[in-house]
């Protein structure tokens, strides 16, 4: 009750539009967030409203709704004074008290109408145009699907194949039909290779994207509990991601067998099953990891690749091997492939090492899955350090497995870290329980203000420390 008044603050309409925007206009997710929120003044902690045309129009509409309601309230009060009718006055008061709810729910109506009447027809047109472009495009099309690791795989393929080929890839984390369609419309038709990252939230998503992008080669990077809150079960998650296999048929599909759920779908003798040990006749040896990168040797028949990458962690080797095999199949020489691998560097917020005041800080905050946590902890354990510090808010969207996943994470962290910093939220207790269960005797810090902690990290570290920061907890999960 003490935060009820925040619904009447002038920033309220902007806040609810921000919540809609951050939920990617998914009304279901928006309502869940709305229902969970008590203090509307503390919603916009990480970011602010991005004033796109859509957001601006919705904001104006929200204010109009509020204006209409308040006009009615004032009319009711004046009428009640004139006619001495207490019922009308009560109606006015009730309307005033529920005005925030009217705006919060009422705004979804013009959003829905706008989506159906304007956005959807426009999107259908864009999708059709993109599909026609891709049908005529002669480039080799590679589609990447998975619960995690898609962006990393995309960037590795881009970097290695670009050594001699003209390669385009979906930018950033664009992986929806409309986002990919817009990307396709910007192609200049001279590309040799196009790499698509396929997103999935519902059954059928991957199939639809395959029909749009028409891939020649597929890569499945891994399957786990990420997005479990959307799919409900791991079986549905797996089935959706393997819609890529259904589309490709006999065309090549690389599958990451370091993911147990993917491995379960792979038949014995599948040459395109990949791991850090090898793929399609390539075998790996002499692996060396450090804070500045990873080295290994890959050999197939008489071809030898001495790979040196700036990417941290052995878990990247399998994906690099996929790039090696595809590069080899489209005509790159071993020297060219080595040169391409040499250019692979940590991507922003993905196992990205930074040297701060004599300490190494590995920023892996874009990682959002349990496999990534495991890979990160393995890396942390392998590095020489005065103190191993692990920082995380936990993983979002783990659905019914939230407790289980986070207790497991706690147990895993306990075996590696000397200092653990948890950002205080709904999963903190689970991770703490996991730490306690494993007898963690290091230092545990619970940070109530993540932004304050991250922006003052330099006060926390000292020479000889290795810090691993993983995962992110955006405002819509707060």
């Amino acid at each position: 009750m003490k935060h009820f008044w925040t619904r009447f603050h002038p920033s309220y309409p902007r806040t609810i539009i921000y919540m809609l925007q951050s939920s990617e206009y998914n009304i279901g997710n928006y309502f869940i967030w709305l229902n969970r929120t008590k203090n509307f003044l503390s919603v916009t902690r990480r970011r602010n409203l991005d004033y796109t045309i859509k957001a601006s129009l919705l904001l104006v509409t929200a204010w109009l709704i509020l204006l209409c309601v308040y006009t009615f309230v004032i009319y009711a009060i004046i009428k009640s004074i004139i006619s001495m009718d207490i019922l009308i006055a009560l109606l006015g008061v009730v309307l005033f008290m529920i005005s925030p709810m009217i705006v919060a729910f009422g705004i979804t109506i013009p959003l829905f109408i706008g989506h159906k009447l304007i956005q959807e027809p426009k999107q259908r047109k864009t999708l059709k145009a993109a599909s026609d472009i891709i049908l005529k495009h002669s480039a080799i099309k590679i589609a990447i699907a998975g619960s995690y690791g898609k962006t990393t795989a995309k960037e590795i393929l881009q970097t290695v194949l670009s050594e001699t080929k003209k390669v385009a890839h979906t930018p950033g984390n664009i992986n929806t039909p409309i986002g990919i369609s817009r990307f396709i419309k910007k192609l200049d038709h001279k590309e040799d290779v196009i790499i698509f990252e396929l997103g999935e939230e519902r059954v059928g998503d991957v199939r639809k994207l395959c029909e749009l992008t028409k891939p020649d080669i597929g890569v499945i990077t891994g399957i786990n509990e990420a997005h479990l809150s959307s799919f409900g079960t791991l079986e549905l998650t797996t089935a959706t991601i393997f819609e890529l296999k259904g589309y490709l048929g006999d065309k090549p599909l690389y599958k990451n067998t370091e993911s147990l759920l993917v491995k379960a779908e792979v038949t014995d003798g599948d040459k395109l099953a990949f791991s850090r040990k090898g793929v399609n006749g390539w075998h790996v040896s002499d692996i060396k990891t450090s804070i500045i990168g990873t080295k290994f040797v890959a050999q197939k028949d008489d071809k030898i690749i001495s790979a040196s990458t700036g990417l941290l962690g052995e878990h990247n080797i399998g994906t690099i091997l996929v790039a090696v095999d595809i590069a080899d199949s489209i005509g790159l020489t071993s020297v060219q492939i080595e040169a391409g691998i040499n250019k692979t560097k940590p991507f922003e917020h993905r196992m990205q090492p930074k040297f701060i005041h004599g300490a190494w800080v590995i920023d892996d905050t874009y990682n959002g899955n349990s496999e990534g946590v495991q890979a990160g902890l393995l890396l942390l354990k392998s590095l020489d350090a005065k103190r191993r510090i692990y920082i995380t808010p936990g993983l979002v969207e783990q659905g019914i497995k939230t407790k289980e996943v986070h207790e497991k994470i706690g147990r895993q962290i306990a075996k590696v870290a000397d200092v653990v910093v948890l950002m205080n939220n709904s999963v903190t207790d689970y991770i703490s329980a996991g730490l306690k269960e494993s007898g963690f005797d290091g230092k545990l810090i619970i940070a109530d203000d993540p932004l304050k902690f991250y922006s003052n990290l330099d006060a926390f570290v000292a020479a000889g420390d290795v810090v691993l920061m993983q995962n992110d907890w955006t405002d819509n999960y707060a």
Binding site: F355, I356, H357, G358, K386, I445, K452, F453, N456, D458, A459, F460, V461, A462, A463, G464, D465
Partner: protein, 385 residues
């Protein structure tokens, strides 16, 4: 319940401004980040009035005239000694803040010279840093050198005299200095830090001018013979009985200069692997690259000085090395290093947060130890009157 730590800074001192930076960035901020403490700023204005307010944690208040306006509009604190220390904001309803631990962050006179420590001893609360006696010794360069010499620790030749003596016997004193000490010499006010009022002199005329400058700041002046083949180093040390030295650091000043106030605090400094550093933090070799066992010798001498002078909590020992003879000479102690020399501690593996947390622990450890000492007893002395 969180302990209340009062951080005292500012003061009637030429190092007033430096104290503000030490307090805000190297003490208050890391203490708050450490969690578990209620951190209260206590600002002592240049006129000696005490103030406490959350606004004093913001450096922007101290730029321009903001702090003067603040002091004019705000009622100074009253302090109550009730077996402890209570800071009282008087008004219609008094607001009391009980201080559990004091963290002195005042450089120079009144803050670093034992004055504040004496007050805190009488208040009966733990406080960070050296106790009163060690502070008195450390802030008097003559006294420090005398204590150090008595403990067979090498220090440069020196002569000292008071301002009154100089004014009464100017020629005699100048003659004695020139006869007993070789040029170049360093003329220093005995009680000041941050290299204020220090001059390097190469002849009689410069010597006379320099003494007059030093006499402007202090009533006791010291003249030291310069060390030849000089390498200057400094060593921060933390601890009470058990000592933890940080890294031996070598300021990279020009051969003919010394590390004066401007170089220490105002120079842009070199870029390091992180952000650009200002002052000494960006202009030194850390750890110092010293030949032939001099690194270990420096650590050894620094710790001997720390113990001989009774330092506790934290101090920084400045040393002068004759690189030809290999002798490490004691130069000065700084019982409250500027910004706690946090950059050096960080490079040695102790973060800013850990540094302040340990200093608070050391303060409590000493207080607990001292509590076991009997300082009062009942007697029948008064009955005879």
């Amino acid at each position: 319940m969180n302990k209340t730590i009062a951080v005292f800074f500012g003061g009637k001192s030429t190092e007033h401004d430096i104290s503000i930076i030490t307090a805000l960035s190297s003490i208050i901020k890391p203490l708050e980040l450490a969690g578990g403490y209620n951190v209260v700023p206590v600002y002592i204005a240049k006129d000696g009035k005490w103030f406490s307010d959350e606004k004093l944690k913001d450096i922007s208040l101290f730029r321009g005239d903001g702090i003067e306006d603040f002091c004019k509009k705000t009622k100074p604190l009253a302090v109550v000694f009730d077996g402890g220390m209570v800071l009282r904001k008087t008004g219609l309803k008094n607001k009391d803040i009980r201080v559990d631990i004091a963290f002195p962050a005042m450089h120079g006179p009144y803050g670093e010279d034992g004055s504040l420590m004496g007050l805190l001893r009488m208040a009966g609360i733990p406080f960070v840093g050296s106790d009163m006696a060690a502070s008195v010794i450390a802030m008097d360069k003559v006294l420090t050198k005398q204590v150090v010499q008595a403990n067979d620790i090498p220090t440069s030749k020196f002569i000292f005299f008071s301002k009154v003596e100089f004014e009464a016997n100017r020629d005699t004193i100048i003659k004695k200095v020139i006869n007993d000490l070789k040029f170049p010499q360093f003329v220093k006010p005995s009680h000041l830090g941050s290299s204020i009022g220090i001059t390097k002199v190469n002849n009689k005329d410069e010597l006379v001018n320099a003494i007059e400058v030093a006499a402007f700041y202090d009533d006791k002046i010291i003249v030291e013979e310069a060390i030849e083949n000089l390498i200057e180093v400094t060593v921060p040390i933390m601890g009470n009985e058990t000592l933890i030295p940080a890294l031996v650091e070598k300021p990279l000043s020009h051969g003919d200069d010394f590390f004066d106030f401007n170089t220490k605090y105002m120079s842009g400094g070199k870029k390091t692997s992180g952000a650009k550093q200002t002052g000494a933090q960006g202009y030194s070799e850390l750890p110092a690259k010293l030949p032939n066992g001099l690194y270990e010798a420096s650590l050894d001498i620094a710790q001997k000085v720390y113990r001989a002078t009774g330092c506790e909590g934290i101090s920084r020992i400045d040393l002068l090395i004759d690189s030809k003879s290999g002798i490490v000479y004691f130069n000065e102690i700084n019982p409250l290093p500027g910004s706690l020399y946090a950059h050096n501690w960080r490079a040695s593996g102790i973060s800013s947060i850990e540094l302040v947390s340990r200093l608070v622990d050391l303060a409590e450890e000493r207080f607990a130890r001292n509590q076991k000492l009997e300082t009062t007893f009942s007697s029948s002395f008064l009955k005879q009157f």
